[in-house]
């Protein structure tokens, strides 16, 4: 892929006209930011933004074999949903590693659109076949508390699609598809529109007052919401159980690829799990940094042995880290050894410095209800592929997490 010219979205010219900074991403050339990542991030939390996510793949799988094929290949159980619904699921390797995380749009009885990550489309097609229809359409994700309200005058059918439902809609006579899905921790709608009308659709959405947002904000939003990114929280050597995503596994269905490895891990419990790290200050922990037990780091520093973070017991590694525009603190996701608990103090070794942080459940936004606040607010399922926060007691992993959080109640 590196040797080839990057692919371009049907909206490429619109991004250039808006002054976007373009970057290579998964074999595509996509907008990183327009006005600025932090402004775009905050617009998504307070109003609504539109992302061009045409780089996501679309693989159409149809026919009377399609349901059985997806059931046997992917982890989640399609019997939990029905035609007209979307489901978050994984494709595993035999060792239980997550080859890709994807959304299945169940369009009709025998017709599915499977949406892999950009760089994984070929590997997903190798497993499930189907037709790659990526080039035929653009996908515009409208996200934020005002997403539906602002989208309604442009595409009422799309604006009305239920959370984790899919529904066809027409835009200026062109057949389109909407899904009540997203990757920001906010409500929103993802619209697949034919490439020929994509530019007009994008301009109509922005004309309705939705702010264009780039991959920079998409990444800080998903990190704040604790949503995993393939290549960071999912990938070779990382199983769904380690990433707190046991709920994407349909244990009650038959065999699927990777099942045996997952069952073994379920019996023993994963050796490490994904947690959140809330830094004491603004400086972001970064991917690849080692995480150390704080008490031991302090002892080592007192003894004057060496750089504190280097001498204390390593408890894990940061998988993604950045600045949280809403909390105005450094935040990270990190795989930490079994035995780690919420509230543990750690230090992150960052370019020769020791960055103090606290272990927290791996979701930073929305902020957790303060003690005494209404529990109804805190427990409402609010986003798409939400890893359930590890409970303070880390005993139960695989079996005890909610089994069907991907849809509205």
């Amino acid at each position: 892929m590196d040797d080839e010219a990057p692919r371009r979205s049907p909206l490429h010219d619109a991004h250039l006209a808006l002054g976007a900074r373009m970057v290579p991403f998964g074999g595509w050339e996509m907008p990183l930011a327009y006005e600025g990542t932090i402004a775009e991030h905050r617009a998504c939390r307070s109003a609504a933004v539109a992302f061009d996510v045409s780089h996501l793949g679309t693989v159409r799988v149809e026919g009377h074999e399609a349901f059985g094929l997806l059931q046997r290949t992917l982890t989640n159980d399609l019997r939990r949903v029905a035609p007209g619904r979307a489901q978050y699921t994984h494709l595993l390797a035999e060792d239980g590693s997550v080859l890709d995380d994807l959304i299945v749009w169940w369009l009709a009885e025998d017709r599915f659109d499977v949406m892999p990550n950009a760089s994984n489309t070929a590997r997903v097609r190798a497993a499930i076949g189907g037709e790659d229809t990526t080039a035929s359409r653009a996908v515009v994700a409208v996200q934020g508390p005002q997403a539906r309200e602002l989208l309604a005058p442009v595409a009422p059918g799309a604006a009305a699609v239920g959370r984790f439902h899919v529904a066809p809609f027409e835009w200026r006579g062109a057949p389109c598809m909407a899904a009540g899905t997203g990757y920001t921790g906010e409500d929103g709608v993802e619209c697949a529109v034919p490439a020929e009308v994509a530019l007009e659709f994008w301009e109509a959405v922005l004309g309705a007052g939705v702010v264009a947002a780039g991959l920079g904000a998409r990444d800080t939003l998903r990190l704040e919401a604790g949503l995993p990114l393939h290549g960071h929280e999912l990938g070779p050597g990382i199983t769904p159980l380690q990433a707190n995503l046991g709920w994407v596994i349909g244990w009650d269905k038959g065999d699927f690829r990777g099942r045996a490895a997952l069952e073994a891990e379920r019996r023993t419990g994963p050796s490490r799990r994904l947690w959140g790290l809330l830094a004491d200050g603004r400086q972001p922990p970064r991917e690849g940094s080692s995480v150390h037990a704080a008490a031991e780091a302090a002892e080592a520093a007192e003894a004057g042995t060496a750089a504190p973070a280097g001498t204390a017991r390593t408890v894990g590694t940061v998988s993604s880290g950045n600045f949280s525009p809403m909390l105005e603190r450094g935040i990270a996701l990190a795989f930490l050894d079994a035995g780690t608990s919420e509230g543990d103090r750690v230090v992150v070794a960052l370019r020769g410095r020791a960055l103090p942080a606290t272990v927290v459940p791996p979701r930073f936004w929305p902020p957790r209800a303060a003690p005494g606040a209404s529990p109804a607010v805190a427990s409402e399922p609010s986003a798409e592929s939400e890893p359930s926060a590890p409970s303070a007691s880390t005993a139960a992993v695989a079996g005890a997490v909610p089994s069907d959080r991907e849809g509205p109640a």
């Binding site: 932090i38 200050g281 600045f323 370019r351």
Partner: protein, 126 residues
């Protein structure tokens, strides 16, 4: 991209503005634009002595980290606490409120060895 004529520039995208023997240091408009939204600034300790080219601090954005180098030799005599508390100042006003630190410089003639505005403009536009 702005490049005011009242100061000197390094090829590493710092600026240096002399007021007597005190030299105020920051990063250029070009540098802040390339970094994107700055979220964290690490400033040197007051009293630290640096040679030209030594690391003075770090400027970190949502997408990357960049070291800031001393454009001339000197001793740090002041740092801008305001930009540490509100790093967005560095994006908004890199030549004013977004300054980083001040150096007491023994020999201000070394500023003559830095780029003037025209030369820096030529560097960033090439």
């Amino acid at each position: 991209m702005e490049t005011p004529d009242d100061r000197r520039y390094s090829s590493d995208h710092e600026w240096a503005l002399a007021d007597g023997s005190r030299v105020r240091v920051g990063i250029t408009d070009y540098a802040q634009d390339a970094l994107g939204d700055v979220v964290f600034v690490d400033l040197p300790a007051v009293g630290k002595a640096v040679q030209a080219g030594d690391v003075l601090g770090e400027v970190e954005s949502t997408k990357s980290v960049s070291e800031v180098y001393a454009p001339v030799a000197g001793t740090v005599v002041a740092v801008n606490g305001g930009v540490a508390d509100a790093p967005e100042k560095l994006n908004r006003d890199p030549y004013g409120d977004g300054w980083l630190c001040e150096l007491e410089v023994a020999d201000t003639s070394v500023l003559g060895g830095l780029l003037d505005a025209a030369a820096y403009r030529a560097l960033t536009e090439s």
